[in-house]
Amino acid sequence: MSGGVSMQEYLLQGSVLDSSCETLLHRLRGLSDNVDTGPEAFVDQEMVYILRGSQTPPVMLRARRALDQPDSLPWQLRYVGTAEAGIGDKSRSTLVRTCIDVATSDNVTTFLTDMGFRLDHECVVKGYLFTKGCIKVTVSKIFRVTVPGNTENLEPLSLSHLVELSVVSPSGQDEVADTMKLFAEQLKPIVQLEKVDHRRLQQV
């Protein structure tokens, strides 16, 4: 039971200006599986917790909950590893990183604090979710929480929507990366979905 298959996330990221967002949503609605039901809207609160140590590198965990239907959905606790080696490798068309998703009870924030984690930052994510086969597409707006813990007072972070194309699958299934690349091609030129080197962004 504890062994489990390790899961990996294949990720492409990009952004779209708010003014063009409607066009993108329209195109995605046509391309995705949920044509008849329309996209799934979501409002999530994400809290990022960090556990720092003197010798070991810090560990970051993301706790996420749905603000629009707080009682029916469990909290999600997510661990995301660093991107796999070969980010500059042209043969790999997407970013690949290990990821663990755990559904938990609502006391996860208390639990993390008890474990020694500290809240690093939090944000509110509002957007739409599309699916196409195993591919998950989110178009979301990131909001800054002005008063800590208060999800009513929000400020948008930028005038763009974040677009993420991701597949979570057991490791070693590199063919999904090509499928994703093909799907991303269909969204051009509204949005350029690319593998983004997070380390480079961090250094800047």
Binding site: M1, G53, Q55, T56, P57, V59, D101, F111, D114, M115
Partner: protein, 204 residues
């Protein structure tokens, strides 16, 4: 999930644990209970490294009653209910929390059903040698969810096969009173007993 009471069953002098379990089984069968499978509850203990002060302990427990769930309890008493891949997450924290050697404790045994009652008789074992520590008896009354309502009913039932050794009301149940019983409460009872066993072996 009904109200549950987990209690320690003393092994009489001059008898092996196995004999005590068999006697209990015979008595239970005499009341008309039928055997329905087996059960297992296990607990792994993680200790924090030097990077976290003060040092903390985390217990990760699984139960066959909830095969896809993992219970994580901090020494502060916070109990997180999570998906079973929480175990994978713990491995990502190995720089901070490491499993305590030989501290794995497990209770295993047959499961009985009698009308709306479920009785589990388990032998407690610890460490890699799986040495026997004692016997735990779990009695659950499935239709009722309020501990205060059915405690006297539960004791009456326990008296039928445990005789004078029936337990006093466990701390967890007493503090619940008119609250609604949850699976976490059963796990906390097990943890309390496991800790007692550890303490007693530590003293020896």
């Amino acid at each position: 999930m009904g109200v549950t009471c987990v209690s320690q069953w003393p092994v009489p002098d001059g008898k092996s644990g196995q004999q005590a379990v068999e006697m209990l089984q015979r008595r239970l069968e005499a009341t008309g209970a039928t055997k329905a499978g087996s059960f297992c509850v296990d607990c792994e203990t993680y200790m924090s490294g030097q990077s976290i002060t003060p040092s903390k302990t985390a217990h990760v427990m699984h139960s066959t009653g909830h095969p896809l769930t993992c219970f994580a309890i901090m020494d502060s008493g916070t109990c997180l209910v999570a998906d079973s891949n929480f175990d994978q997450l713990m491995t990502k924290l190995k720089g901070f929390y490491a499993p305590r050697k030989g501290a794995k404790i497990e209770v295993k045994g047959p499961r009985y059903e009698y009308v709306d009652f479920i009785v589990k008789i388990g032998t407690v074992t610890t460490g890699p040698t799986a040495s026997s520590r004692g016997i735990l008896v779990e009695v659950e009354y499935t239709p009722c969810v309020v501990p205060n309502d059915c405690w006297s009913l539960l004791t009456e039932f326990m008296g039928t096969f445990m005789g004078d050794n029936k337990p006093a009301i466990p701390q967890v149940l007493a503090s619940k009173q008119d609250g609604i019983y949850s699976p976490t409460d059963t796990i906390l009872q097990y943890l309390e007993h496991f800790n007692n066993y550890r303490k007693s072996t530590g003293n020896k």
